[in-house]
Structures are given as structure tokens and as C-alpha cells.
């Protein structure tokens, strides 16, 4: 995003491409699979992200910003189609979930967020949610009992979710 803002067209295209994938997944979750509007919404959101990219504050995390635009476009879509539905705000965490952690901007956000957790909990979350160990394996690696690991994971996730909730 930062390089795109500086005028790097390749980086900008890469970012939009990656975001397109996440947005498609997000809208599919909200509208159900195969909904005809999904691709329109993806394009509309990408266009909005492009046109309004000067509204991104470079000191702030990136994904909540992009996610807020996606959510806005979704609500806008519901409003126009006359459907009244609530979109829960908690889903900000979903954009930060494991499958998106490869992307640079998101990973930076994730690191900022995780830096708040105590070291052992952070290592645990990394093993389970990002690296993909099972809870039992990860607990052994970090020296937790399986029960304590589950509690620690639950608490850490709650704490992270609280931080990303707008």
C-alpha cells in the first residue's frame, strides 16, 4: 500500500489483486456462495479503495481501513437492494485470519497486534494459527498442558479481537 501511494504501479496492482481475493471471500461469506453481486461488490470496493486511497492514514493499520470500505460497500448494497441486515463488526478479525497472513501489509498489522501479547502466548498463537500445528503439538512446544493452551489461545484471540474491533 505504501509503495502504491508513492506511485509504484506494480505494487499497487499487486495490492489490489491480493485484496480482491480477500474481498471476494468476505462477500461470499456474507452473501452466500455463488451470489451474482459478489463480483460487482469486489470491483466496486477495489475502485473505492483506489479512488479514496488518500484517506488511508499511513500511521494506522491497513486492514481495518480496507475492511471498513468493504463493509461500507456491502451495507450500501443492502441499502440499495432494500434488504435490511446487520453486518457484525467482529468480522474485522476474519481479514486478519491465517490464510491472509502471507500478505505484507496484513502481516505488519498482525505483528503490531501480536506484540501486545505476552511472549509465550504469542508463540502459541503463532504455532497454532499461523504455522498450523495442532493444539497438542503447540502446547508441548511452548510448555503448556493442552488444557492450559486452549485457555491461553482463547484468551489471546479475545484480546486480539477486542483490539481490531472498530
Amino acid at each position: 500500500m505504501l509503495r502504491g501511494l508513492a506511485g509504484d504501479a506494480t505494487a499497487h496492482a499487486q495490492l489490489l489483486g491480493a485484496l480482491g481475493g480477500h474481498l471476494r471471500a468476505y462477500f461470499t461469506r456474507r452473501l452466500g456462495p455463488g451470489a451474482a453481486e459478489t463480483e460487482d461488490l469486489v470491483q466496486e470496493t477495489l475502485l473505492a479503495i483506489h479512488l479514496k486511497r488518500d484517506s488511508y492514514d499511513t500511521r494506522q493499520p491497513f486492514s481495518p481501513w480496507a475492511y471498513a470500505i468493504g463493509r461500507y460497500k456491502l451495507l450500501d448494497h443492502f441499502r440499495r437492494s432494500g434488504v435490511r441486515r446487520a453486518v457484525p463488526l467482529e468480522d474485522a478479525g476474519v481479514l486478519l485470519a491465517a490464510e491472509t497472513a502471507e500478505e505484507g501489509a496484513v502481516r505488519r498489522d498482525l505483528e503490531t497486534l501480536m506484540s501486545d501479547l505476552p511472549a509465550r502466548q504469542r508463540a502459541l498463537i503463532q504455532d497454532v494459527k499461523l504455522t498450523g500445528y495442532s493444539i497438542d503439538e503447540a502446547a508441548k512446544r511452548q510448555g503448556f498442558t493442552p488444557g492450559a493452551a486452549k485457555v491461553a489461545i482463547h484468551r489471546s484471540l479475545q484480546r486480539l479481537a477486542r483490539k481490531v474491533r472498530p
Partner: protein, 210 residues
């Protein structure tokens, strides 16, 4: 159009994007509006009465200015997708609480006969309406700036813009208003400002769409 084509087209248009902070633009239009109002009021009614030494004058000014600051900060944050306003709400709440405490203190020290006068003053009927009238063009100017930003919570952003415009209007009106009681200010100034915020939320829902 296919999504990857769209992305390619958008990337062609990538050019460097300067950061465009919202706060200075909002401040500029609000100040310009305030200066216009003051000029108009000065022509119509003469310069404000000389009461700048009185504590009550500053009580009104500080109250309105603090609310204006809260409104400005909230508006700036809500102009960006994903902006949060938790801390700003507390500033507004603390400001109102502070004046409520002063009003309570006044009321307790007043004789029963004075109480109604403390809370109603001479001008309680017109004060909120005048604040609303002064705020209307200011709100228009703030909205004009906001239309170029990207608010994602329209009603909230509209309310914040209304709070900002209403509080600036209260600062202006306070220069000409001769009421001296904190109780009056906390009741009727707050009502006028709150009405601006409520109307702002209603209008923002429609006019802030993008």
C-alpha cells in the same frame, strides 16, 4: 468488466498520492464561517458587549470550545474508513459533566426563588434556535469538506459534523448572549448543540454517501 482488467486499469492510474489531512481543511472552513458570522453580527448589533473579564463569559467559551474540539476530532476520525472515536466521546462527556457539576453547585447555593431563573434565564426559548440557525451554514461547509473524504459510518460522521458546527455556533452565540448561569448553558446551549448533532446525523445519512 473482469476484475483483473479493472485492476490493470486502476494500476495505470497509480500516480503518487499526497496525504490530504482533513483537520486543517475543516478548521479552515469553520474559521471562515465564524469570521463571516461575526462580521455580520457586528454590522447588525455592534461589537460584542464588553464582558470578557467575567468568569461566566469564559465558562461559556471554554464549554463550547471543548465541545467544538471533540466534534472536530470525531469528524476527522470518522472521515477515514475504520476510524474510531472512543476517546473523543469521553472528552465530550467529561465536558458536559464538568458544567453539570458547576450547574449543580450553583443550584444548591441559590435561594428557591432564584432557581427557575438560573435554569431558564431570560432567553431559554430562543437560545437553542439561534445556535441552530448559526450552525446551519457552518454545517453545510463542514459537509462540503466531508463529501471529499470517505466516511463509512454515515450517521455517526454526520452527527460528529453537526456537533462540531453546533459547538462553533455556540462559541459565536456566546459572545452576544448575556446569560450568566452555568445551569442555563448546560441546559440550553447543550440542547442547541445536541439538536445540531441529531439533525447532522439525519442529513449525513443521505448527503455523505459516496
Amino acid at each position: 468488466m473482469r476484475t483483473d482488467e479493472l485492476i490493470r486499469t486502476l494500476a495505470l492510474d497509480a500516480g503518487p498520492v499526497p496525504a490530504r489531512p482533513v483537520a486543517p481543511r475543516l478548521l479552515a472552513v469553520a474559521l471562515a464561517g465564524a469570521v463571516l458570522w461575526l462580521a455580520l453580527l457586528a454590522v447588525q448589533f455592534g461589537p460584542p458587549a464588553r464582558s470578557a473579564n467575567a468568569g461566566w463569559f469564559w465558562m461559556k467559551a471554554v464549554y463550547s470550545l471543548l465541545l467544538a474540539a471533540a466534534g472536530l476530532m470525531a469528524t476527522v476520525r470518522l472521515a477515514r474508513p475504520g476510524g474510531r472515536i472512543g476517546a473523543v466521546i469521553w472528552l465530550a462527556v467529561a465536558t458536559v459533566a464538568w458544567l453539570l457539576m458547576m450547574a449543580g453547585h450553583e443550584t444548591m447555593n441559590a435561594s428557591p426563588g432564584q432557581m427557575a431563573h438560573l435554569w431558564l434565564g431570560e432567553t431559554w426559548r430562543i437560545c437553542p434556535v439561534r445556535i441552530l440557525i448559526i450552525a446551519a451554514p457552518l454545517y453545510g461547509a463542514v459537509l462540503w469538506v466531508m463529501r471529499r473524504t470517505a466516511p463509512t459510518r454515515l450517521a455517526t460522521a454526520g452527527a460528529a459534523a453537526g456537533l462540531f458546527a453546533g459547538a462553533v455556533a455556540a462559541v459565536i452565540y456566546g459572545l452576544y448572549c448575556q446569560e450568566t448561569a452555568a445551569a442555563f448553558v448546560v441546559a440550553w446551549y447543550s440542547l442547541g448543540i445536541a439538536a445540531c448533532a441529531a439533525l447532522g446525523a439525519l442529513i449525513g445519512r443521505y448527503l455523505l454517501r459516496w
